[in-house]
Symmetry: C2
Subunit: 424 residues, 2 copies
């Protein structure tokens, strides 16, 4: 018998029929002798519907007072979900009880719409589990010191589930979603992409931050911090598949170094075409130039990803960075009208039709030449590299958007990630 | 400057456009210098939608554990309403803050789906009002000692509003609804029906209990107990009508004896065709016979309204009572198969095609012959009276359903209630 946390996404909770299937799946685990906690998201579409109503009414200025109300409104989606799931579990003959974040409480800070969990009180949950009940807890939300409802931001239910698993010292946190695990790359681009049976926490963090939207990145950080054993698996298998088979399916995110040692040098290829590149040319290379360029960008609330500064020639340097494509025009305007004049730069250029391709793998730490291999493969395909950025476990390149599929497929093959697709 | 409570029904909150109008109306009152508390219902249809989802999932047996979840689910409707209204008020340039029942808290007992309010903590509300904020509070719900969400039953938001007004010692509680006040009778039956400018608390209680569904009856009881000045008025006037005119519109439910003294002997005619009559004939008239008949009826959870026992002849008596029409067949079966054999009764008869017509008026206390006048009028119209039941301020008769409109119109005219319809 183990203490297990299940998390179900909005699609899995999308109708009463699907909620009934979730209840049957949880019941299977409970009947196998496990203590069960379930963290469901709001029914799909519900959070958007609620915030859509609010948007029709809200003032131009979204003050903290308005955000407080947005959180109270949005949090109801999960409150309905936990109630419905608890009822469905009782219809399955189990004892079940639901809690909203404030009822435990799940204590957060007061940053409405993007609050962070501070502490989870486990007293009621522990007592209910001991009494043989399945405990259903709202994702996405908590309560601050003053008793205000807060939400954790989009995808926050993943974080809630991991935080509950950490607070309860659960044996494992299973994230049921509409994909059946983490893949070596996007199977829509590379049909030969394989599901990974395991991935290290650090690799998952890079994959998530690089746009593989299987898990909210904060949930992965949380799992890393509290060493929560996390598994991503499909909620679209039949609920009555063999429980041992289900427990081994999907992708396990692991913290054990041994597991990593058996892995390939490169675990996956991530890519992202949401970015645009801007370059400011011929900037006088004086101390503080990076700050004088990026300070105003940050002030304008524009997130910057890759940053490159080349060595200088004749006391001048070129400075490039990437931003989200939605911020491209605004960034370009800012550089041209304010930053270039202020820094004495010669010229500002940009390109929105780029993409970022990354190889990710914890094995890279101890294997030299992995980045070199990447560059060689791209060169053999005739793909020009515009920017390079590296970390201990990933190497990213910025290339022309039109080469994205070609680059991803070539790298996937070169690093021997092709193979039989994993059994679903 | 006064402390005013506004309550808006589900229809008034039925769309973002209507919520915006509610906000404008409240803003008008706030700008006139009043401290404002608003208690809105869930958007119309929302509670039914939520409980409909739950119904698809719930087990055959509705245990308290299931009812606990039903309350948590249903309560979200009002949580959304208060958030949206608070946002709309902020868009009007006011400061506003919303609270769910558990946040104040509004303490109730633990009777899920029909909880009763025990106490309302006014600390937060008082502080917010003093800080110049409009306070928006969920109707219909509270929280019990163990931190479970409870609801007060259908129409419970009226009771919430009155309870809040009582706790805050508000100058007046205005119930905005889809009718423009309390009428001498239903204008759909008697076009000459007049809106009453005032009605006494006791009369309102009788009118409400007799099926004039303007206010939830518990809210009227609450208002009586705590002497809350209550006004029923229309939310479908333009929001920007003159505030003094609005403050005098609708019907004021009053506790002042002076006001009553000026009133007519009969204030209104109520009627109800939701009932059915059953009679058990030739019951041996022994002590305890009423209990032996009605005990099993109560045990079967059937509500009984009018009860008549005639004087006995030859040691036998006839016993009649009315039940809701939905319970008619069940009551008849119970009488025939169990109660008649057990009591040695001769026969069981029943009639579902009856109606109850009542004259209501606090003036009846001090005016003899009012009931006699009622019986004379009905006799002149050739209407046979099947049952009679009286209280200090009302006289009810049960008659054949087909005479209902005729009886109501004749009585309305005879007691001089006809007149110019009140200005809306």
């Amino acid at each position: 018998m183990a203490l297990i946390v299940h998390k179900y996404g909005g699609t899995s909770m999308g109708s009463t029929e699907r909620i009934r299937n979730v209840a049957k799946r949880v019941a299977k685990w409970a009947r196998a002798g496990h203590q069960m906690i379930v963290v469901p998201s709001a029914m799909s579409g519900e959070t958007n519907r609620l915030l859509g109503l609010a948007k029709e009414l809200q003032p131009a200025q979204i003050t903290p007072s308005v955000m407080r109300e947005l959180d109270a409104i949005a949090a109801t989606g999960e409150q309905v979900s936990v109630g419905l799931l608890s009822i469905a579990l009782q219809a399955e003959g189990l004892q079940a009880v639901s809690y909203a974040g404030w009822q435990l409480p799940i204590a957060t800070d007061s940053s409405f719409t993007k609050a962070r969990i501070q502490q989870i009180d486990d007293v009621r949950v522990r007592a209910d589990l001991d009494a043989g009940k399945v405990v259903v807890i709202t994702g996405f939300q908590g309560v601050d010191d003053s008793g205000n409802i807060t939400t954790l931001g989009r995808g926050g239910s993943d974080t809630s589930a991991v935080a509950v698993a950490a607070a309860m010292k659960a044996a494992e946190c299973l994230i049921y979603t509409d994909v059946d695990g983490v893949y070596t790359t996007d199977p829509r681009v590379v049909p030969e992409a394989r599901r990974l049976a395991t991935i290290s926490f650090e690799e998952m963090l890079e994959m998530a931050s690089l746009g593989s939207k299987v898990l909210q990145i904060r949930s992965v950080e949380f799992a890393g911090k509290y060493r929560v054993k996390l598994r991503v698996l499909s909620s679209f298998t039949d609920w009555d598949i063999d429980i041992d088979e289900e427990a081994r399916s999907g992708t396990l995110i692991t913290f054990e170094e041994e597991a990593n040692m058996e892995q390939a040098v490169v675990s996956g290829i991530a890519f992202n075409r949401d970015e645009a590149k801007v370059t400011i040319l011929g900037v006088p290379d004086k101390p503080g130039v990076a700050f004088r360029i990026l300070g105003p960008v940050a002030e304008a609330n524009i997130d910057v990803d890759v940053i490159i500064q080349n060595v200088s020639h004749d006391g001048k340097t070129d400075f490039s960075f990437t931003v989200h494509r939605n911020d491209y025009q605004r960034t370009l305007d800012l550089l041209k009208t304010q930053i270039a004049p202020a820094t004495g730069a010669r010229e500002v250029t940009g390109d929105a039709r780029i993409c970022k391709v990354s190889i990710v793998g914890i094995g890279m730490k101890s294997h030299v030449g992995v980045a070199a291999t990447m560059f060689r493969i791209l060169s053999e395909e005739g793909i020009n590299i515009q920017m390079i950025s590296t970390s201990e476990i990933k190497t990213s390149v910025v290339i022309d958007e039109k080469y994205m599929e070609l680059a991803v497929r070539a790298l996937h093959r070169a690093f021997e990630l092709d193979g039989e697709p994993a059994r679903v």
